[in-house]
């Protein structure tokens, strides 16, 4: 039962993924997906602060503070510091999703940001 999807997945992988097996397309879908905060009922998305285009600058939804583009292609400092990546994933996933992002989700998101 597991074998068939796995075989299909492995076959399709080169078509959609980076060499490390993560999917930029999945990352993009996740980035734009709407999550609902159970406490406030508020809708939250990565794109709410970062915009849907990682090459654009965003801004903090509450304070208005500008956020530099996430794509390393326009902002070479991005995604070079592992501690910083871990810190922001922890905060932002917990706030947006209500939980931490799984390693696969993180990998897909990074693949997406690096693909732009």
């Amino acid at each position: 039962m597991i074998k068939l999807p796995l075989m299909i997945g492995i076959f399709l992988l080169p078509l959609v993924a980076q060499a490390d097996g993560f999917s930029a397309a999945a990352g993009e879908e996740f980035w734009n997906r709407t999550f609902v905060d159970t406490g406030s009922g508020q809708e939250r998305r990565c794109a709410s602060c970062h915009t849907s285009d990682p090459r654009q600058g965003g801004k903090h939804a509450k304070t208005g503070k500008p956020i530099a583009p996430m794509a390393p292609s326009v902002n070479p400092e991005r995604l070079t510091d592992n501690r910083k990546i871990a810190k922001w994933f922890k905060r932002n996933c917990k706030w947006t999703l209500g939980r931490e992002c799984t390693p696969r989700e993180q990998g897909d998101l990074l693949a997406f940001l690096r693909s732009r």
Binding site: T63, G64, K65, R83, K87, K90
Partner: protein, 192 residues
Amino acid sequence: MNKTATIILILLALALLGSAGLALSDDDQDSDDDDHRKRWSRDAKPGVVSALQQQYVDECGSCHFPYQPGFLPAQSWERVMSGLEDHFGENAELPAEDARQIGNYLRANAAGAVSDGVANRSLAALQGRQGPIRITETRFFRREHDDLTRRMVQDNPQVGSFSNCEACHTRAMEGSFDEHQVRIPGYGRWDD
């Protein structure tokens, strides 16, 4: 008394009156603030940024203005640091070591820990009470801003909130909140 002596006396009297005027002139800026020019906080030295200060400014200035530690007493900062998971509605969690270092920095430079114009006034206004953790809700802050309208702040698209210090306090990053340097976007200089 002869003429020369009278003239000299009159001139002397005028000179004294003139300088007395200068000495007594009202300057609502604390002399401490002068020393604080070009320094973000009491802890800072002009042109030299300590590693701990830089860490605080980088971490705690990534979403909002990095409020100088002197605005709140140590207990308020403790409460902030122990509630980072829900930091005024946002998640501001930090790795344990960084949180520890920043906590120490805040405690060491909090109102009551340092002798500083703004910090002392802020602490005094609390009058021994615990006080809020939101700087804009402290008595000191409210008093200083009580003559501002909503149109100038909350309903002003270029300001938005009292927590956005830099929008009006042009030298906030240099630790100066002197009202003579205030420019409210859309309204110009503050004329008290």
